[in-house]
């Protein structure tokens, strides 16, 4: 039975942290008005984030900001912390407000144990807030999901790329990255 939950707003969420009810150590994010625990950082996950970060820095240089597991505020009820968010430059480095969807070029989630959540719940959330380019790196199956054409019912386009393929962000078409390079080298 679906409960009528009292949804938390972003303001509520920040107040909870300020009041010390949410430990600064607790790895949580606000998704559609509920506080959700993030998965623990396993080594395979962290290594993948590092690889992808370096690949993006190499070809994108300093024309944008790369944020790693930092909040973006999608709307009044959601403030996720994506593994990687490629966002517009901002003179104060988002001192006053977290990046909004209009500031975001690309979101990437590295999926180890969270594949279903990343492909279903989070995809819907990112699509509904208009994030044009959303990638999910499935490190266990060695594939990259590329989700595009956001709508209120989700992404209209999903490509699943095997490791031999390359991909470029919509906003930076010259930045071609091989999926293989995002993944660990096969032993």
């Amino acid at each position: 039975m679906v409960l009528e939950l009292r949804l938390l707003t972003v303001q509520d969420y920040h107040r909870l942290t300020e009041a010390g009810i949410l430990d600064a150590e607790e790895r949580v994010e606000l998704i559609a008005g509920q506080i959700v625990r993030m998965a623990a950082k396993e080594t395979a996950h962290s290594a993948a984030v590092t690889r992808v970060e370096l690949l993006l820095r190499n070809c994108l240089g300093h024309q944008l900001l790369l944020r790693l597991q930092d909040p973006i505020q999608l709307d009044n009820y959601s403030e996720p912390e994506p593994d990687i968010a490629v966002v517009k430059l901002e003179p104060r480095y988002y001192e006053d407000h977290h990046p909004k969807p209009s500031d975001v070029y690309l979101v990437i989630e590295v999926a180890d144990t969270t594949l279903q959540r990343d492909l279903k719940t989070k995809a819907l959330l990112y699509a509904q807030s208009g994030i044009a380019d959303y990638w999910v790196l499935n490190i266990n199956d060695r594939q990259l999901h590329v989700l595009r054409s956001p709508s209120s019912s989700g992404y209209q386009q999903e490509l699943i790329l095997a490791e031999a393929m390359t991909v470029a962000p919509i906003a930076f078409p010259d930045c071609a990255i091989a999926v293989r390079e995002m993944l660990s080298s096969v032993q």
Partner: protein
Amino acid sequence: MVLATVKRFTTAEYHQLTALAFFQEDDRVELIDGQIVEMAAKGTAHETCNRRLMRELLKLLGDRATLQNQSPIVLSNQSEPEPDFAIVQNRADDYLSGHPTAADVIWVIEVADSSLGYDQAVKLPLYAQAGIADYWIFNLVEGRIETYSEPYQTAEGQFGYRVTRIVLPNEAIALPRFADSTLDLVKVFPPQTH
């Protein structure tokens, strides 16, 4: 969303939220298994039934127990519902030092209109799990009273009540523990509108 990953609030955290004025005057919420749940809006049939029950129960109980109406009872460190009625043991300080716990509760009554599904599917196992011996639902949807007793637990960790009785709105029912007192349901149940 997989519920295992949702953060559950403890009653201590929930009380902190209340102290921080997190909830507005018209935010009717309760804490169920660590989640903050909105209570259903108050319809007139629900409120009339409440008023009549209050009047009749106070007469019948006298000073033998404490009657509370939509006030909290603390069932665990993650559940603090606010049942329509809880009949609890008398305490000298009238629970100033803390809300009644499950051990203080004699029986619970929910008046169910739009909340019937919730009272049967969510609250029932919660009350059974807390060991509340008797639970009544005034089912305004179907025009009858459901009484539940003898809480049980299965090997798989499911909770329920072994014994259910249906009592009709023109009948009378003895009070749990105070069996010499009977509640005449004709005085309580709102007339059926259909």
